[in-house]
Symmetry: C2
Subunit: 203 residues, 2 copies
């Protein structure tokens, strides 16, 4: 397998961390130069028509885009250690939290970054006022995450899961919009320290 990745971007990091947590090695890493627009070229669009990283390319040439789909594939080919829940309810709640963080934290952080900085203005139309709003939306999710982590050791409950990976990569990417895990969020701080201690942290 090959993983088309990019060093600073949060979604490729989610995939690399999932590989590390699963203990899957031997995946060839191919770094895509997003700032230079390598992902916009026809060769890359053949792998993902939406021109985004990560993409997991299987040995038969099948290309799997979207981090959630890569999570799913890895969970299927190597069920242990389990990262997506063990029974119907646990699976659903893991999916719920992973999706919540993706939609209500990571996506607004990305929009805030792109729309306020104009980082990708060669390929999109930044709307600064929307970027500002998106930043507020991301910040508004922190109290919800804090409440969850006050009740549970991990994001989706009492087991480590892909939702922890997504939350970690989202929150650390949040630095680009000055989103900080302040002392107002002691449970997130406690959880963050636990995440940093995992070997997958540097993946």
């Amino acid at each position: 397998m090959k993983l088309y990745s990019a060093n600073m971007a949060p979604n490729p990091r989610r995939s690399r961390m999932a590989l590390a947590e699963k203990g899957i090695s031997g995946v060839e890493m191919i770094d895509i130069d997003l700032a230079g627009g390598e992902n916009l070229k026809p060769e890359f669009r053949e792998r993902n028509s939406l021109a985004k990283v990560p993409v997991l390319e299987l040995d038969d040439g099948t290309c799997i885009a979207e981090t959630a789909a890569i999570y799913r594939y890895l969970e299927e080919i190597q069920p242990e250690p389990n990262l997506m829940g063990r029974d119907a309810k646990e699976k659903a709640l893991t999916e719920m939290w992973d999706r919540r963080i993706d939609n209500a934290l990571l996506m607004p952080i990305g929009h805030c970054f792109q729309h306020t900085t104009g980082f990708f203005k060669d390929r999109m139309t930044p709307v600064a006022a929307w970027g500002e709003e998106a930043g507020k939306l991301a910040a508004a999710f922190l109290p919800i995450l804090e409440q969850q982590l006050q009740k549970h050791e991990f994001v989706a409950g009492d087991h480590f899961s892909v939702a922890d990976i997504t939350a970690l990569c989202s929150l650390e990417f949040g630095k680009v919009i000055q989103l900080r895990i302040t002392e107002d969020f002691p449970a997130i701080q406690r959880w963050h320290a636990q995440m940093k201690a995992r070997p997958s942290y540097t993946a």
Copy 2:
């Protein structure tokens, strides 16, 4: 089980269609008045802190929010008919297409609607210029979907899946922003006619 739903909204419809495709009956439907802000009240926020529909409430009181998580729960409790793929690759590609449609079609349609009309301006800050951009992003996804449906009978490949449900609910919701399946998209038109013929269409 109970489903907290809303008649005109696309995500509750996705859940109702999945229930219908699975042949799961006896779920109590509770209509939430989104325009009137019933979803913003404390009673509802106890079920979903993000104040969104749909929510599937299990008999033990567990509340599952996020349509993708409801899909997952239904697939787990009633695997047939299969809606999310049969092997690792099929499951991953189904997830990929479902997620693509959610992020690159349904979400921009929703943003365009909310930001250009100000429909929810009592609870958010509409940014009209972003709404316009989001509308363009949604329209830009149609050629990608057309290309996929020229090669495959269904959205995720050769099997009906949740990705078809998500695509149908997204495209039909697109009417609110004047997104039309014109003759430029014959494969989408062919597929749309097939979807309308399924009993789940009116769920």
